[in-house]
């Protein structure tokens, strides 16, 4: 009733049709009359149960929308079936329990061969929202005109429910609306935005300030005596000039190498402090501070007159800074280049795994390293490709019905029944592997067929256009052809291949990743660069790495590092940590690379000699 009302809410043109159709579906006029004389309490009960179910799509759980819609359908079936048979309506919670399973058993009771038709029928059903087509399971009574008749009277709050239904039920299976996966992805991306953008830059800014301070210190050492007590300074000749030059060049080298090595925007925010970096910053700070201390005590206070000594002091500071930079280079950059550990990275959802060689890193740095490579090496995570269809897995328990033959002592019966069922289920031959095998073979065949169609369509489409050579334009006045730029050319040849492409993407469950706009943009790109149809198709035939599907946004990706050890400890054998995202995780296991014992053997090139095999003699 509600469903019909919703159907007519959106499309007011179809008011009369389901009504008439239901009358002809075998009800007498009495049934029709009885609908109009419904007690309003039970109507509200049915609506209440419907509201419970309708709340579910809003929470964006992983349950698919189509499943929920079959439950919805089950509810309406139940409610209508109860009404048509004039039965007293059971209270709402019980009906909820029943309706939970009605849609489910409906799906699984049909055989596998008719599942294709059932799927197509499901899709039609959800698109048309016409529950008269659902009437093969139970008798449905509809009075879609009814909500319009008494819209004012008893359904003040019901109108809200109606409104809720029309706006929240998104058809997960029509082509142009937002599917459930899009919704979850959009919500995920909202969560991905890092809360504080400036937190990323706190560390580098601090180290930048410190570095600047350290660089300006020698200059300050030189300038301060000149400014303060210039008159009483001893003049300093050629040695000072030399020291000035060396000081200048060393400062230049320090500046350039610091800029080249250290001042890069960080690509990751680590959960804990980066120990080596903190160590080095502390070292630099202590160093410069102690130099200032000595300077203050020995030079500024007694107004030291030996300028050459002061210059030498500044040069020694710069030397020491250069050595600290060398230490930083080794600790931060070089130490983790030589491979020492082998990391095995496994994705929890589909088992894709890789092995990587890394050097001595801390856990958090190793995590960043792994994630860098994850984005380019692992194929993109497609949640639609994961599970076995339910019909295969759920066949086990649905075969047996247990009848109790007369005895009414129920204490032993339930446990006895369940045990008997379990024993029977264990003994019966489990053929679900068979189903799985045939299902997979069927899927492969379907994919290959669609792929063949797609390849042919694309090849044909590409033959329609060709690149215009420069001299052709001038010398062919009698065949004026329309000259197009790449975008128009792409749109022109997209039409014949669109259908094949869409079917192929649908079969391989890739359609959330490629919108029509992106396909046309890619086609334009390929045409511009003279690519062949095969080059155009490589993007769609194999699921590429996650990097291919990234959108450029400044917000980062949120990953959680889960580990039993503190994340700043170094890698060692047997360490396991995992990197978690919302719906999948990467589990990383650390093993050390084996120690290689390399021996030597020298072969004289003249020692390669051969003979024919002599007659072998066998004694019998």
């Amino acid at each position: 009733m509600m469903e019909g009302g919703a159907g007519t809410w959106g499309r007011s043109g179809r008011v009369g049709l389901p009504f008439g159709a239901c009358i002809s579906s075998g009800l007498n006029g009495d049934g029709n009359m009885s609908v109009l004389s419904f007690p309003s309490a039970s109507k509200i009960d049915s609506l209440r149960s419907k509201v419970e179910l309708l709340k579910l799509p809003l929470t964006l759980s992983s349950k698919s929308i189509s499943e929920r819609k079959t439950q919805l359908g089950g509810t309406t079936e139940r409610s209508r079936g109860g009404a048509g048979a004039h039965k007293p309506r059971p209270p709402a919670p019980d009906m909820d329990n029943e309706s939970q399973y009605s849609g489910y058993s409906y799906k699984s009771s049909h055989s596998r061969s008719s599942r294709k038709h059932r799927d197509r029928r499901d899709r039609h059903r959800s698109k048309s929202r016409d529950s008269s087509s659902r009437g093969d399971k139970s008798v449905t009574i509809q009075a879609p005109g009814e909500p319009l008749l008494d819209a004012e009277s008893t359904r003040g709050d019901d109108r809200d429910d109606n409104w809720g239904e029309t706006t929240t039920v998104v058809t997960g299976t029509s082509e142009h609306s937002v599917s459930n996966e899009d919704l979850t992805r959009a919500s995920k991306e909202l969560e991905d935005s890092s809360p504080l953008e400036c937190r990323r830059f706190a560390g580098p800014v601090l180290s930048g300030i410190l570095g600047l301070f350290a660089l300006l210190t020698p200059l300050a050492f030189l300038l301060l005596p000149q400014l303060l007590w210039r008159d009483s300074l001893e003049p300093c000749g050629t040695p000072c000039e030399g020291l000035y030059v060396s000081l200048a060049f060393k400062l230049l080298v320090l500046l350039i190498s610091s800029w080249a090595l250290f001042f890069r925007p960080p690509r990751a925010t680590l959960p804990r402090f980066f120990i080596f970096r903190c160590l080095l910053m502390a070292l630099v700070f202590l160093f410069v501070a102690s130099y200032w201390l000595f300077y203050g005590v020995r030079v500024l206070e007694p107004r030291e007159r030996d300028y050459r000594g002061i210059v030498g002091y500044a040069v020694s500071l710069v030397d020491a800074l250069l050595f600290i930079q060398y230490l930083a280079l080794v600790l931060l950059e070089v130490r983790h280049l030589r491979p020492a550990f082998c990391l095995k990275v496994v994705r929890t959802t589909d088992g894709a795994s890789r092995f990587y060689n890394v050097g001595h890193l801390s856990i958090q740095r190793a995590a960043v390293w792994v994630l860098d490579h994850y984005y380019t090496d692992f194929s993109v995570y497609n949640p639609a490709l994961l599970n076995l269809p339910k019909s295969i897995l759920s066949k086990k328990m649905s075969g047996f019905k247990v009848y109790s033959l007369g005895e009414e002592n129920s204490t032993n019966n339930s446990t006895g029944q369940s045990r008997a069922m379990i024993a029977a289920a264990a003994r019966r031959r489990d053929n679900s592997h068979n189903e799985y095998y045939y299902e997979e073979a069927e899927m492969d065949r379907r994919i290959r067929k669609r792929k063949a169609r797609l390849v042919v369509a694309v090849e044909e489409a590409f033959t329609h256009i060709k690149r215009l050579q420069d001299d052709e334009a001038a010398t062919s006045p009698k065949h004026p052809r329309e000259v197009m730029d790449p975008r128009e050319a792409a749109q022109a040849i997209f039409a014949p291949m669109a259908r094949a492409m869409q079917k192929y993407l649908r079969t391989t469950r890739q359609q959330p990743y490629h919108s029509m706009e992106s396909i046309i943009a890619h086609l334009q790109f390929c045409i511009t660069h003279n690519m062949t149809p095969k080059a155009f198709l490589e993007r769609y035939l194999t699921p590429g790495p996650t990097m291919q599907y990234q959108r450029e946004n400044g917000r980062g990706r949120q990953w959680t590092l889960v580990s039993e050890e503190p994340v700043t400890s170094a890698l060692r054998q047997g360490l396991v940590f995992s990197l978690r995202r919302l719906d999948f995780a990467l589990v990383v296991t650390v093993t050390p690379l084996p120690f290689l014992n390399l021996g030597e053997e020298f072969i004289d090139p003249k020692s390669h000699k051969f003979v024919m095999r002599l007659q072998s003699e066998t004694s019998v």
């Binding site: 024919m612 095999r613 002599l614 007659q615 072998s616 003699e617 066998t618 004694s619 019998v620």
Partner: protein, 125 residues
């Protein structure tokens, strides 16, 4: 003993029957063979025609069943128990001689001296 390709091989043969001697778990015949279509025929010291890839007896152990039965070194084995030995590999020859189920091997062997004997006996008449 020369062999013309395409023509049937004709030779004067002697029948030799060797009883296999049981030595523990093995049955031994007491001689060694060489040759075969997978071997190098030019190394064969006993053959007249150095392209002859037949099976030759290269050694006969003293007092063994083969010597007792009359096998001599340099004999070419043509048949073993009815199986042809002129176009076999070395391993096939070994297998046919060392079948565990057979206690007796009946060989057809040929040697150059046989032909001379026959010719001489024919010439005398």
């Amino acid at each position: 003993m020369s062999f013309i390709p395409g023509q049937p091989v004709t030779a004067v043969v002697q029948r030799i029957e060797i009883q296999k001697l049981r030595d523990g778990d093995n049955l031994i015949l007491g001689f060694s063979i060489g040759g075969g279509i997978d071997q190098d025929a030019s190394q064969n010291p006993f053959s007249e025609d150095k392209s002859d890839k037949g099976i030759y007896v290269t050694r006969v152990s003293k007092g063994g069943p083969a010597e007792v039965a009359g096998l001599r070194i340099g004999d070419k084995i043509m048949q073993v128990n009815g199986w042809d030995m002129t176009m076999v590999t070395h391993d096939q020859a070994r297998k046919r001689l060392t079948k565990k189920k057979e206690d007796v091997v009946r060989l057809l062997i040929t040697r150059k001296s046989l032909e001379e004997v026959v010719r001489q006996s024919m010439m005398q008449h």
